[in-house]
Amino acid sequence: MEGRPADDSELIARALRGDAAAYEEIVQRYQQIAFRTAYAVTGSAADAEDAAQEGFVKAFRALERFRPGAELRPWLLRIVGNEARNKIRSTGRRHQLELRLTEGFRPGDAAPSPEAVAVASDERRRLLAMVNALSEDDRLVITSRYFLELSGEETAAALGIPEGTVKSRLSRALGRLRARVEEAASA
């Protein structure tokens, strides 16, 4: 076992036997995607931290009910997504998600000219601004699929909607975003 990271089912089995370190490893493994997913839903880093933390506690309590052989990540994201929505309901506040680009981001692998970088960065900033300006449903589904890189199943789990709804919602969201991009290009 040494030198090889334990797979999820192994960690779950150990956690169920009372091995706290095994569950800590699960938390370590998934805390980033859990936190970011919760952030996408709540729009607040503090609320996302609470939701992710409480989500992991609830997941531990429900671990006995986890179906052996199933994927752990969508299951965790469903719990964390629920917690994030509960957080919005319980606090009565919803923050507008404002995604930003990292400073100094250099798109592409080659070393482009400073001008090319500036143009590319501007294009990306404009595109991100358009995503930010979409309706909440549209923004969430695009953020989940493209920025968080969740699968369709994971997106459905995190947003608490059927997978078929993810597909139709994503299609409509892309259509609306495309229209805005084209409108901006022709202006």
């Binding site: 938390v27 980033q32 996302a48 609470d50 309590r61 930003r100 798109p107 595109l127 695009i142």
Partner: protein, 261 residues
């Protein structure tokens, strides 16, 4: 121009996500999963073993029911009769407590042992010696640094709230009391009196306050509820706001506060 979906995919690496915090996940004490649950029993003795045997027997009957259709009617009749008799002989005692955990009902957060709660917050949780060890401990976030509630189901000379089934709640959170804030939100039948709690500034809020605001560790106003909507003592204990909610008088509340250790 690249395809829109491709552009979105390329943006993924450039999104400036907030730094992922190191999550402190403390596993809740299973004995406190439900409100004031009895101490967890170890081993299979007494009623626990008896119950297990009864459940196993019922399971065997149920399997027999499925496996042997001709006997279904007779067995079903027996099971039904048996269960009916049990219901008559042992009527359930009506509970005065609402269903669900108290934490869920009152928004107290999740249940923990006192020692686990200590690990979740950055201050030393104080417990009133006059009340002894709490019946349950809850921790919730926000506020940013957490809020701890000690629950006392019964306390000498203090009535039990019919709404919640508890006598006293002691709530602790990092922050500052801001009188200006809570003066504005108390109702017309509520009065606020400045008091001294062992030399510390405090407030005795009598009446039926429902809401409370304090300045949290980030300097932001944090809105909270008075869970028992009854007399409340609030004071600042070295940067930790302590609230004692109980249907009692000022002197008794201060006595509880002075016994915090």
């Amino acid at each position: 121009m690249p395809d829109l979906e491709q552009q979105l995919s390329e943006l993924a690496a450039a999104i400036d996500w907030p730094a992922t915090p190191h999550l402190k996940v403390v596993i809740p004490d299973r004995a406190h999963r439900s409100w004031l649950s009895l101490p967890a029993r170890r081993g299979g003795s007494g009623w626990g073993r008896g119950l297990a045997v009864a459940v196993a027997a019922l399971l065997i009957v149920a399997l027999a029911l499925v496996a042997y259709p001709p006997s279904r009617g007779a067995i079903a009749h027996w099971v039904n009769l048996h269960l009916n008799i049990e219901r008559v002989e042992h009527p359930p005692t009506p509970s005065t407590l609402p269903s669900g955990t108290l934490g869920d009902q009152l928004g107290l957060g999740l249940p923990y042992t006192l020692s686990d709660a200590e690990r979740l917050v950055d201050w030393r949780i104080t417990v009133p010696a006059t009340l002894g060890q709490p019946d349950a401990v809850y921790v919730k976030h926000p506020p940013t640094l957490g809020e701890v509630t000690l629950v006392y189901a019964r306390a000498p000379d203090i009535p039990v709230s019919g709404q919640t089934g508890v006598s006293v709640l002691v709530t602790e959170a990092r922050g500052r009391v801001n009188e200006t804030y809570f003066q504005k939100i108390v109702g017309p039948n509520t009065t606020i009196e400045e008091v001294s709690v062992g030399g510390r500034a405090g407030y005795w809020i009598s009446g039926h306050p429902h809401d409370f605001i304090f300045t949290d560790a980030d300097g932001q106003p944090f809105f909270d509820s008075m869970r028992l909507a009854t007399n409340t003592l609030v004071f600042d204990r070295d940067g930790t706001i302590v609230r004692i909610e109980a249907d009692t008088n000022k002197e008794r509340a201060i006595e509880i506060a002075l016994s915090l250790q």
